[in-house]
Symmetry: C2
Subunit: 218 residues, 2 copies
Amino acid sequence: MTPPITHPIPKKTIERLSEYRRSLLSCHEQGITHIFSHILAGMHGITAVQVRRDLMLIGFSSDTKKGYDVKVLIEFINNILDSREVMNLAIIGMGRLGQAITSYFNGKRRKMRIVAAFDVDPTKVGTAIDNIPCYHIDSLAEVVEQMDISIAVISSPTSVAPSLVVPIINAGIKGVINFTSAPLNFPQGIVAENYDITTVLEKVAYFVKEADENGDKS
Amino acid sequence: MTPPITHPIPKKTIERLSEYRRSLLSCHEQGITHIFSHILAGMHGITAVQVRRDLMLIGFSSDTKKGYDVKVLIEFINNILDSREVMNLAIIGMGRLGQAITSYFNGKRRKMRIVAAFDVDPTKVGTAIDNIPCYHIDSLAEVVEQMDISIAVISSPTSVAPSLVVPIINAGIKGVINFTSAPLNFPQGIVAENYDITTVLEKVAYFVKEADENGDKS
């Protein structure tokens, strides 16, 4: 059993726990039963100290002779990250990105489930895409209540995104992941992450450019 | 003219500069000529102190009476972030996610351009998708050299991703953005970012759950 955690866990640790879990699940599938912190660290390009610190934060310790028990550690992280009940998600904007997220995501996580999609395209509204029913955005509040949806994923065109903020607040959504290029602000009490794909492309391009220019000097 | 920056700029600052630029471009389109640091900060849910610190780091100062000159600041950030020559990108894995990235990205950034896609699907190889020619993954090294591609975006199925590491290294790619759930390690000298969509969904779900549970207690 996981002891109750009384202190708040930092966002970065939560991200890494999610990443550790994916690697551990892959190890488990391959029949690996134990793993040392430095091996787990190497899989994520971080230090063993960081891994041990993260696991200490959630109260997990291990038999250091054999490393961490993979199956036990997965269960331990499940207890931290997963809600007791399944959390329902909606995709707003069922273009290529929305469909990519749906096909990529569904069935992979036991405790999260994409249950509805929203769009304005009349060829999509009223149909099911990848078994996800697609509704008109005007019925957001109604469907969110009926289906007990707590998280919205915004994959609409960027130009549309700002107009979604008020309907999302009114629908009682508790968490938002915004994949568009428009940074959106939600009131406190709604967990929101802006996750723009262009930013990471530009970041990598910048550091490639820097490495090139430093290389040119030598 | 931007003075040469001699100190390294932190990754987080580079990310924020990319985000500021998108907001500034949107302001510019709306005819806004000047913006105060606290307004720009509010658009990104951060403090004005953070904005001023980032801009100080790149050597930008402003007439504080009217705020930052939007057009001048955009040009300033362009000079920091953009390479002098256009940087060529390749998409590896032309499924829904690869196509979403292509349609979302192309034409938006002047200094980065998706010029090739790679897949193994015989219905895709040899065709053009969104005007991007699609090649077989076996010709990666050849096409990367011919087209002077420096950055690879991995949007293949997760199970395939680990097998792409060696071909990408051998092709002379300098930067990698990996959108799959398999964390990949590249040798030093290759800039690599793992950018797994599931991680951000899990993070938001965790903080929604936490808020719910804390709410239940009261």
